[in-house]
């Protein structure tokens, strides 16, 4: 421990930290912008400057280490003015359109400007003018709103290892863009949307479909059906000012009904369906029919990553569609028949925590009966806005149940939303299908939690099944590298494109005041919300879900039947341009 002085008062702090970290721990939250605890230090914005006695200039507290006896000022009059000028200069090259901006009220830059006390604009200079990139199915890039903090570049290269974005050109002309300034749709972007999550402004936002949906909801001639992903219920409360971790299952159903949906189904039901198909596929592969290790295929960002970055592993990936696409396929066939409606007259809307699902919905191989299975994908953020915009009080609404016959789910389907959940759900069912015995300890601790790559094993009939779980595409690369080198090390690998799994998806509510995007504490609470729902269910294994048993009896036959293959399975193929994952140089 060393002693430092912050604003003339001594504090004991640990050595080896930066001024910002030390100050955080003793209750000084130095203003910051480009800093993110999960990413490398960029020191680009200079918002976090402090005065250090003896230093020639102000120092960036995010990058400067503390030392014994250091005298730091965080709030002197001169420093406050300098900091305010820095933010003002950032604002100067930023469109002054806050009240028509998508992030009005939930913008970090806006909050920062307010807390700096900027009440008047002193500077008026040249401002950048660029075209928006609207080419992607999922992510919209608006360089005019970009303040060059570089968080998106860093999350894309350091956490997701997709390396889509970079700083191009220099000085005033610097723009964050994909290589060759190519449209997003032609780049290696996996559409995970993490750039949106970490962006402090609206330089990255999701492709918004809310107006289109409002219009469709007024159309009396069609049947409007919604499905909700597990992670949406674990996080939507945050958009309404609640603490993270409050599950709002039935409230959303009620809100969606009030918005104008005729039926609200649960993606957790189709998660159970996924487990039936994927679990059965795994058992087949285990018996020698197909490649091992088998890799999950639920995450759309991971699907695109697979096709671009890991085409050699396509055969290892399960052919089972994602729960969203399975649900949509069932809506347009099974359910359409039940209500005796032409699938053309059905609007299938998926409410997802995810921007990549917007891309998935556009994949032509997922069409059903010549129609797109999912007509529209709406993120948690978008639906939260729609609910607010319609004057529906989500916090004070009487909950309703999901509709039959695609609304009942097991606890296994619930935990799909968090990293390790798909694997846990698959083990719960595969174990019993394989051994014929009941798995007693169904909560598998080894594959829970937020470690980048988790390993676990189960013994099925004396056979050791080794599994691995990775979340975030960077961690996925790691586990795949291990599997490439030692193909017999794992039997089954779960990969989720986003940090934390779907609960950390690119479409989840923005971080609130004084919290940071992708905060692990927040992810933990969202995960706990899902585990809580699972614990409170009487049915916790997918194959015990009576509606799953019914759909197989009435419609699909059995898992992996020809009907199931036609509607619930798909295929992948290598895609150009091929992305490059830089190998970290071995120490020579």
């Amino acid at each position: 421990m060393i002693t430092i002085y912050i604003n003339d008062k001594p504090y004991k702090v640990e050595e080896g930290q930066t001024i910002m970290q030390a100050a955080d721990k003793v209750g000084f939250r130095i203003p910051r912008l480009c800093y993110h605890p999960k990413l490398s230090i960029e020191g680009a914005c200079r918002v976090c400057i402090v005065e250090v006695e003896g230093a020639k200039n102000y120092v960036a507290s995010c990058a400067f280490p503390v030392s014994e006896g250091m005298k730091i000022k965080t709030n002197s009059e001169e420093l406050r003015r300098a900091r305010r000028d820095i933010v003002e200069l950032i604002l100067d090259n930023h469109p002054q359109d806050c009240h028509t901006c998508e992030r009005d009220g939930i913008c970090e830059l806006q909050r920062l400007a307010f807390s700096m006390g900027i009440r008047k604009r002193h500077f008026e200079g040249e401002r950048k003018h660029y075209e928006k990139d609207l080419s992607s199915t999922s992510v919209v890039r608006d360089p005019n709103k970009c303040i060059l903090c570089g968080r998106c570049v860093r999350i894309c290269s350091e956490i997701q290892k997709a390396n889509v974005l970079g700083h191009a050109h220099r000085g005033f002309k610097t723009v964050v863009m994909p290589a060759y300034n190519m449209p997003f749709s032609e780049s290696v972007c996996t559409t995970c949307g993490q750039c949106i999550n970490v962006c402090p402004t609206a330089a990255f936002v999701e492709k918004n479909y809310t107006q289109e949906l409002f219009q469709k909801l007024n159309d009396k001639s069609i049947v409007k059906i919604a499905q909700i992903a597990p992670s949406v219920r674990a996080a939507i409360g945050e958009a309404f000012g609640l603490e993270a971790g409050k599950a709002m299952e039935h409230e959303i159903v009620a809100a969606l009904k009030r918005l104008g949906f005729d039926y609200v189904f649960d993606t957790q039901f189709s998660a159970d369906l996924t487990i039936m198909e994927e679990g059965s596929e795994f058992l087949e592969r285990l018996q020698g029919k197909g490649k091992l290790p088998m890799i999950t295929s639920c995450s759309s960002a991971w699907m695109k990553c697979l096709e671009q970055f890991h085409p050699d592993l396509i055969e290892n990936v399960s052919t089972a569609k994602s729960p969203m696409s399975m649900m949509s396929a069932m809506i347009k066939t099974y359910f359409a028949q039940k209500i005796k409606r032409d699938p053309k007259d059905i609007l299938s809307v998926a409410i997802m925590c995810c921007t990549a699902k917007k891309y998935e919905a556009s994949r032509p191989e997922l069409m059903v009966e010549g129609l797109p299975a999912t007509d529209m994908v709406i993120t948690t953020r978008e639906i939260a806005w729609m609910i607010k915009s319609s004057g529906i009080d989500l916090l004070d609404i009487k909950g309703e149940n999901f509709d039959e016959p695609l609304g009942l789910s097991s606890g296994a389907g619930t935990i799909f939303g968090t990293t390790g959940g798909v694997m846990e759900a698959a083990i719960r069912t595969a174990y019993e299908l394989y051994t014929g015995e009941t798995l007693l300890d169904i909560e598998i601790a080894d594959i829970r939690g937020f470690k980048g790559v988790k390993e676990g094993k189960v013994i099925m009939d004396g056979k050791e099944i080794r599994v691995a779980v990775a979340h975030g595409l960077g961690n996925a690369n790691e586990v795949l590298e291990i599997a490439r080198k030692d193909p017999s090390r794992y039997h089954f690998i779960e990969i989720m494109g986003c940090p934390g799994g779907c609960i950390g998806g690119g479409g989840q509510p923005y971080a609130g005041y004084n919290s940071i995007p992708l905060d692990e504490e927040c992810l933990k609470k969202r995960a706990e919300a899902l585990y809580g729902l699972d614990r409170n269910k009487t049915i916790r294994r997918s194959h015990e879900n009576p509606d799953i048993q019914r759909i197989y009896k009435e419609f699909l036959g059995r898992p992996l039947s020809p009907a199931a293959h036609k509607l619930l399975h798909t295929h992948y193929k290598a895609k150009e341009p091929r992305g490059i994952i830089p190998v970290v140089n071995a120490v020579l």
Partner: protein, 162 residues
């Protein structure tokens, strides 16, 4: 030797250079050298070359693009046979660089960064060529021409046109 070089395609020459970089510690830090080589071989950098470098050196294209656009030296469009740099540094400017520049502009009908229709010249601006004693100066390829007047400039350009 020149005959042999012709036989080797541009791509092979670049590949050979990259191979030599790979034996160095931290090969990815050789990126700027590789881009220089690529430009030397091809005259400018294009997507195809940068994609090749990305795959060969295992460096993301977004990063290569960032470096290639950061430095003025790297050209992203085909260049003329000769490059003309007009010095607009203080000394040259005071001694009439603007007049020299306007003469070149109207004579060649190009602006900064552009190449003449016949593909002979590319016009660039320079901030100081270190020849202030000869101001105003221009540099064509590796050669400095000093104490210029509009008339002299046209004569010099004509020598390259033959």
């Amino acid at each position: 030797m020149p005959v042999e070089l012709k036989k080797v395609s541009k791509k092979d020459a670049l590949k050979k250079f990259m191979d030599s970089c790979k034996s160095l510690p931290n090969p990815e830090s050789q990126l700027i050298a590789i881009l220089h080589k690529a430009q030397e071989i091809n005259g400018y950098l294009n997507k195809e070359l940068m994609d090749d470098i990305a795959l060969e050196m295992n460096i993301p294209t977004a990063h290569i693009w960032g470096v290639a656009t950061f430095y003025h030296y790297f050209k992203l469009v085909p260049q003329g046979k000769h490059s003309i740099s007009v010095c607009l540094g203080t000394a040259c400017y005071v001694k009439g660089a603007e007049e020299v520049l306007n003469t070149i502009r109207s004579e060649l009908k190009v602006n900064f960064g552009q190449t003449t229709e016949d593909g002979l010249f590319t016009l660039q601006e320079a901030r100081c060529l270190g020849a202030c004693g000869l101001a105003p100066v221009i540099m064509i390829d590796d050669r400095i021409y000093g104490e210029l007047t509009p008339k002299k400039v046209i004569e010099i350009l004509n020598t390259y046109r033959k």
